[in-house]
Structures are given as C-alpha cells and as structure tokens.
Symmetry: C2
C-alpha cells in the first residue's frame, strides 16, 4: 500500500469543517476508491479558538495559509478561504511551486488567475482541481474536462447562482416583486446583506468564464463577459413569459459564434418545456450542447456546505489516485486567447415590454421603428392592467398600457437602435424592458 496522501486545509468555515469530517468518516471508502489513504495532517484558519464541531486532535495547526502551503509534510493543499487575491493566491502559488497538488472551491480566484495558476501546476507537476468552484456537487468541471474530451462543444449555459433562481422562482410563483423576494432571501440566508455580487450577475459571470474556458479551450476571460442582473425584472415580465410559453432565468451563456466566443450573463426567456426551465429554487443546472448530440443537462445543488465538500473530496480523491488532468483540459500553452464577440453583434429573439402613452398611434410607431431596423415581429400584444391580453387594435386608455413584443432572431444592435428611436419619438414612458430569448 502506498503511503497516505497528506492533506492540509486552509479555511475552516462550513465547507472546510465538513471536509475534515468527511475525510475522517469516509476514510475506508476513500482509501478503497483511490488506492491510498487520505489523511488531514494540518489545518489553518483565522481563529484557532472558534468552535467548529469537528475533531482536530492530532492535526497540526499551521500559523498561516502560506506556512501550510510550504509545509513539506503536506502533499495536497486545500484552499477553502475564498477571495480573488491574498492570502489564497500566494498560498496556492507557493503550494504549486513546490510541486504540491491544489484543490480549491474558489471561483473568484480561478476566474481571475486560473491561467497563471494552471501554468504553475503544469510546470511543477501538481494537480489544480476546482470542481467545487462551479455548481458545487454537480460534476460539471469533470464532465467538460474529461467526460466530453472528444466532443466539440458549441454552447454551454446554465443557472449558476442559486440566490437569483430562488428570487425568480418566488417572484413567479407568488407574484411578488424583486425587492420583496430579495428581502425574504436575505432573511432565510440565501442572499448576502450586500446582494449585488449575486443579483447583479457577477457570481454567475465568474463561473461562466471558467466553464467557457473548459468548453472551448480558451484562456479564462472574466472581463469578456457581458453582465446584466435581475433587479429590473418585474412580475409583469414573469406573467408575460408564462402567457408566451417561456420562463425567465438568470443564465450564463457561452457560445461559439462566427465573430468569436460570446459570453453573457442576463435574465433570459427560456422555453417552458426545456430542462433548464424546470429548475426551481436554489438549484443550479448546466446544459452542454455538443456537436451532433442532443443537449446534456446536469442539475443539482449549487451551494451548501455538504454539497461543496462532496466536490472537494472528489477532487482530493483524484489527487490521491494520481490523476493529473490539465487544469483547463488542455495544456496551458494550447489555450487560445478568447476573441470576445461584442454584445452588439449578439443574435437571437427578444422580448420587449414598453409602456405606451397612447396606444392608438404607438403600435404603429413601434412597428415602423422596428421595421426600419429590419426586425421581424413574431407577436405583439398589449396587456391591460387587469391582466387580460388583447390584440394591438384594442381601444386606447388614458394611463400607459404595456405593449409586449416578441421578435424573430435579430441583432442586439438593431434592437438597441430601434428602441432608442422609439424613446426619441416620446410615445412610451420609462425605460423599455428587454429580455433576450435563448432557444434550446
């Protein structure tokens, strides 16, 4: 029997404590599965005194993450502190430089410094595993990195943030406003006190950048991601989506286009019958479109201590088994620099909701402005405040009336120009609501 894999863990929050507990509890199975024992030999965290409900006896306490990363007794450095910079970054660099393998759940760090760290891992022979960084226990990194090794991937998209999906689900099911649902999500611990990172789409963007790199063999390029959050979504949009056979989800979408790799995060209308539309509450899901094969969708918990720990342990087991996958599936020198497809060039269908001042003339004006940009309209309906839907020729009202349009595939640029013209015509009040449609 090979000597056990000696693991050092930096960060003992919910996930870190659960990893320590699971390695102890599952030690027999882990050693059977990986062909060698796995043993936590050292840990570190901000406070040594804090109660964590986990037995740390016989485990060394390192004085800092960096000290732990440099400890020659540690073979595998597990980083569960989070944060896109130090101390996580320096510690991981030190561990990789000494030939150690690294397991991390840190999406911010991988999204920002993934290429640099992968190069270190490849140079010094260690693994850099980060399954937990995207979709927690959903094995999406492994699937893209290994499970679809011979398949050309054309698109990868998903619900990558449980907070947003929880809010959209509650809004739809209970007809509540974004603000009300956000408050509830905060009360229940599904959203942070400062919710911007989640609801404005940045968390999704980091995860998407990682998935895009794995899917397309490109360098992680978080700054190339177009990002819109969900705070502008109104109950009226969700009702209209339902009437039109769609559901609204915050999606991260990465797709191969003629003008480069398009990476975008925005509220999206998805067909109600699609797998992704069925994903409700805090659950995450990723769909992968491979060349010539029907889509593969992976659904599961995208957060939570036990789910995240499950992915961390699987990554540690791969290290123990001696697997040294290239961190991004291909050697770092073969990863291409992403050619960013500009958002203006995005092509697809659009849902547009406008508040018409005076319906009689407005429908004609809108139709004209769209026609000028060669945008074809699939449907145009107006919705009375009481919730019924009429055709565009219904009687006008004194108060503004919502007009909802669905376009056939067109370009972002054309939509923006048409709506700017409609606004200049002063036939609508407020800002137009625009939600992109993603077909499955």
């Amino acid at each position: 029997m090979v000597a056990p894999l000696k693991v050092g863990i930096a960060g003992l929050g919910t996930v870190g404590a659960e990893v320590v507990r699971l390695i102890e509890e599952q030690s027999r199975v882990l050693s059977a599965r990986s062909g060698r024992g796995v043993k936590v030999v050292a840990v570190t965290a901000r406070s040594k005194a804090k109660k964590r409900g986990v037995n740390l006896r016989g485990i060394e306490w390192a004085k800092s993450p960096l000290a732990l990363a440099n400890d020659p007794n540690v073979h595998c450095f597990v980083e569960l502190m989070g944060g896109a910079g130090d101390p996580a970054l320096s510690a991981i660099e030190a561990a990789l430089k000494s030939g150690k393998s690294v397991v991390t759940a840190n999406k911010a760090l991988i999204a920002k410094h993934g290429s640099k760290l992968a190069a270190l891992a490849e140079k010094h022979g260690g693994a850099l595993n980060y399954e937990a960084a995207v979709g927690a226990a959903i094995p999406v990194v492994k699937t893209l990195r290994e499970g679809l090794a011979g398949t050309t991937i054309n698109r990868v998209y998903g619900i990558l943030n449980g907070t947003c999906n929880y809010i959209l689900t509650r809004m739809e099911e209970e007809g509540l406003s974004f603000a009300e649902c956000l408050k509830d999500a905060q009360r229940l611990g599904y959203a942070e006190a400062n919710p911007s990172f989640d609801v404005d789409g940045h968390d999704t963007a980091q995860k998407l950048a990682i998935l895009a790199s794995l899917a397309f063999g490109t360098k992680v390029a978080q700054s190339s991601v177009y990002v819109e959050g969900i705070s502008s979504i109104a109950p009226a949009d969700l009702r209209a989506a339902q009437d039109l056979g769609y559901r609204v989800k915050l999606l991260g979408v990465a797709v191969r286009t003629a003008s480069g790799i398009e990476q975008r995060v925005h509220p999206t209308m998805v067909p109600r019958s699609s797998s992704i539309a069925q994903v409700m509450g805090v659950t995450n899901a990723v769909t992968i479109d491979g060349e010539g094969i029907p889509p593969i969708t992976l659904v599961g918990p995208g957060a939570g201590g036990a789910a995240t720990a499950s992915a961390v342990i699987a990554d540690i087991a791969d290290v123990a088994r001696g697997i040294r996958a290239k961190p991004f599936g291909r050697p770092i020198e073969k990863l291409r620099t992403t050619k960013k497809a500009p958002m203006e060039r995005h092509e697809g269908g659009y849902y547009i909701r406008l508040m018409a001042r005076d319906l009689a003339g407005t429908a004609a004006t809108i139709a004209t402005r769209l026609a000028e940009q060669k945008i074809s309209i699939e449907s145009i309906v107006q919705r009375h405040p009481n919730g019924t839907i009429d055709g565009p020729d219904a009687k006008s009202k004194s108060s503004p009336v919502p007009v909802i349009l669905i376009t056939y595939a067109t370009s972002e640029d054309a939509v923006r120009r048409a709506l700017a013209a409609v606004q200049a015509d002063k036939v609508i009040t407020g800002r137009p609501q625009v939600i992109r449609i993603e077909k499955n």
Copy 2:
C-alpha cells in the same frame, strides 16, 4: 511527446464508424487533451466489404475480434459488437490478459461478466471503461466512479431506456394505447422488431445493475433486479396520474434499505414537479441521492451513434491520459456481494386501479381488505368512463367502474395480500393495476 495510443476497434456499426471518424477529426484536440496522440491502427467487423462512409485506408483489418485483441500493436481494444457472450467476451478477456486497456459500450456484457472482467483488468493493469454502456453520452459512470468518490450514495434511479420513455410520452400526450405507440416507435426506429428487451424492462435492468454496483460498492448482480415492463400501462393510468400530480415513467431504482440493496425496474408514479418527471421522449436521466446533499440529476441522450461515440471517445482519452480507475470504483476484492432485498419487503406508496363490479358495496369491501393489512389510504376516487372524477359515494353504474386508490407508505407484501383478498371477494373484474410511487 509520448508515442500515440494505438486503438483497435471491433465492430463497425453506426457507433464504431462514428468513433473512427471522430478520432480522425478530433485528433489535434484529443492529443492536446490527453497529452498523447490517439490513432486507430486496426479494426474488424463481420463484413469487410460493407460501405460505412468512413475512411479505413492505412488501418489494418484484423481477421477476428480475438486476433485484434491479441494484436501486439494494439494498446487499447475497443469493443462495439455487443452481446453478453462470445465473440465479445473472449476478445475482451484476451485483451485484458495481455495488459491492454478495454473500452466497451456493451451493457449486457458488463452486467453479466463485469466482476470477472474487472478482476482481470485490475490484475493485469489495464483500464476497463464502459461509460457508453449506460446513458450513452451522459457521464453517469464517471460521476459515480469519480465525481462522488467521497459521498455515501443512498439511492440512484433513472429513466434508462429511451424506447419506453418515448412510448409513455406519446401515450400521455396523445391518449394513445401502448400497442399503438409501440407500433409507431417501431416504424420510427425507436423500437426493435422484437421489442421485449426494451419494453419488458430488461435493458433497464442491465443498466441499473451496473449503476447499483458503482453506487454501493457491490458486485454487479443483474439477477437480483426485480423487473416489470410497461405493456400493462393503460391511458387511464396516465390520465389518473395527471389528475393526482404524478407522471408514469419506467424507472430503474437501486436503493439502500435496512434489508439490503433493493434493485427494481417497474412503471413508477413520480411527482410531476420532479426533475425526472420532466424528461420526455427518448431522453434518459439519472438521479443520484448522496448523503446530506440534494439530488443530482443528469439528463441527456441515452442512445444514438454520435452520443454513444462521444462516451467511447472520452473513455479512450482517459486511457490515453493514463487514468486507470478501478472499473467499479473500488478494488474488485472490496466489492461486497449484494444482499438482495426481497421485493415483498419493498416499502412505499402505491397507486391501485381496480374495476369495481358494483360500486355501492365494493368501496367498503376494498377499504376493509386494505385495513386488514394495515394499509392507510391517502385518496380513493372513482372515475366515470366519461373521464370525470367523483368521490366513492357516487351512484353505482351497471358497467364496471374504475376505482383508483393512492396508499400511504406500506409494504409490497401487504398490497399483494389485500388485493388477493379483494379478488377472492369477486367484487372486481380483471386484474388490479398496481403502480409503485417513488418520492423525490
């Protein structure tokens, strides 16, 4: 650069030809991903003359699968002939005995001889990869074998046969009979001329036995699987399911119980809101319940040349990368012999549909017989032939009237005894329809 991995392929049907084509087409990506080239050096199939639309120039034609398996020029033997016995079995045994790695899509063979072949692979140091055998391109084998290495799995279940799911979907959506849908499925090539292997549940049972072994660390035990097919399902059952908030799916379910590992294949009522209920048409899906974490569901194509080839290529890439996972996740000597949980001990809710001769007295008789077996009834409704539902006290009719019961959790044994008593009472006509309920 390491010398390329030399692959020999036995069987050049749709999948085999697609594998040859993909290895050629993807050679640059494959070599970047696996760190070494992958090259098809030899093939064999029943007919050398047959047109396959794939370029075999420069590839040696072996005179038999066994000759190919013994060819010292071949590192990795890919078996795509199918069949639980020879020539596949002998050829795979020969390849493994000579230390070669083996990739196969052959579920029948793995379900029947998996343990024996895994022992050979482990003894001689080759890999035995069979991702394509279950759920084609859905990476379920890899997920169970590697992605959940540190997670205790309590249940794994899924829709593992596209033919059955296609038939049930059409029956539900169009109100057609089983026989009509089967005929259509045969016409469209979704079902074989002899459909028994699919519709009677045997295909699902083979795949389930493989998943159960991976999930629970037990020896594959196909003979321990309880099997029921879908031919008895009537449109009336699907309508009742809809009214009651369920959908009927042919599931393979493997679950850890107090009396051992329960493995069963049968039509199942699943909650309409569950991920598995949303899976329509020929699509497959597998749900994995890990200890302490919400379910993970993988959805995708369960058959088809390109989807199956995608999994075969991923398996070959793992061989090229030098990964030698234990075929069933743990060393063969650590796999336990499945303690078969007898079906009579199965516990769960039941859907029961009976044709009552004379409604007035029948409801009381049925209720009494169920009470004698301590079965609690969640709901009892009768359905008039015109499709409306009434409570049990509605007026009796001269022709038999369907009575539909949903029970709370009880045992298979109790249900069987209660229904035998009801039949002996002669208050119903025909055989009772019984469909087990699986909660998510």
